[in-house]
Point group: C2
């Protein structure tokens, strides 16, 4: 999902998403995607291993961005590192991508297999973040907690960002969610 | 995993776990489990749908306990409700169960399919907790955040509880992890 010019990859993404929405993910074939994009199946396979990868290939790039953020954050406090990584990763989701992300989510919500895949990807991200924090000297429990909290903030924030009518940028939403987590967690406990 | 007397179910659990440890989860058959327990395969299927359920059947009971805790918590603050539910759910993991839980985790860690299943169960728990909190009037974002944080605390705490050498009860560990989450999240952010 790196580029948004009407290049081959971009056209294939758009064609796939249209078809997923029109006739459903299961029913959509690679041949139909290629035809809709005015390209050949052979060209499709230059960009994607299969139709599922149209939905997931960008996530690797996103994960790399996220993990780079953990490595490069100037702070040493675990949650500050996570907050910086979240902030950095929002570069991957400019407002122009919101419509795509919203359509993608609709496809995923309709297919239990895709939901599992998404879940496993996010869980893998939490594990990779935990490792990244540990490499920065954070103790194992704090690293796991900060990573899991960061993924929770991302997940909740992302769902808010793609909700109908939401107009704030992902960065603004994530900051608000992080603030909400903070006030939730420090509320007086019984 | 309700009872620990040497009844049929308990004997089958123990026999299964021994075999999973000795020859591996994949290689273990229902017939071998039944034989080791001195019972028939037919008896096995009175208790479990398949060998995987030996590892997972108790989770439904645990999830019910957790969700009942959310419904019945006296407080109305979301994280206090989650903390009460966590506390209540520890009744399901007395110290006598620690050795079993540790052995179970070893089996799961060795098998990607079981890891996925575990992950999906925990994700389902977070969703059910979110719904439970919403039914108690918590707003959607706070409900999702509190539920995801609660599951993160449980996951990290449970891993700590079954670590070699750990002697605190699960309730003590979860309280400590919750305190650690609190201090992580309120640390001064850059």
């Amino acid at each position: 999902m790196g580029r948004w010019e009407p290049d081959g990859e971009g056209r294939l993404r758009m064609a796939a998403m249209e078809l997923f929405a029109e006739i459903g993910y299961e029913q959509t074939t690679v041949a139909a995607i290629a035809e809709r994009a005015g390209l050949t199946s052979r060209t499709f396979f230059r960009y994607f291993a299969d139709k599922r990868e149209v939905l997931f290939s960008g996530q690797d790039e996103f994960e790399r961005l996220f993990l780079a953020g953990i490595e490069e954050a100037g702070d040493s406090d675990p949650m500050a590192i996570v907050a910086a990584a979240l902030e950095g990763a929002t570069a991957f989701f400019p407002d122009e991508r919101r419509a795509w992300s919203r359509a993608r989510q609709r496809v995923i919500d309709a297919d239990p297999g895709l939901q599992e895949r998404e879940l496993l990807k996010l869980s893998g991200l939490a594990t990779a973040m935990t490792d990244g924090l540990r490499r920065r000297g954070v103790d194992p429990t704090a690293a796991a907690l900060a990573a899991e909290s960061g993924v929770a903030v991302f997940r909740v924030g992302f769902a808010t960002w793609i909700a109908e009518g939401e107009e704030r940028s992902l960065a603004e939403v994530l900051r608000a969610v992080l603030t909400q987590l903070r006030s939730l967690v420090i509320a007086p406990q019984v």
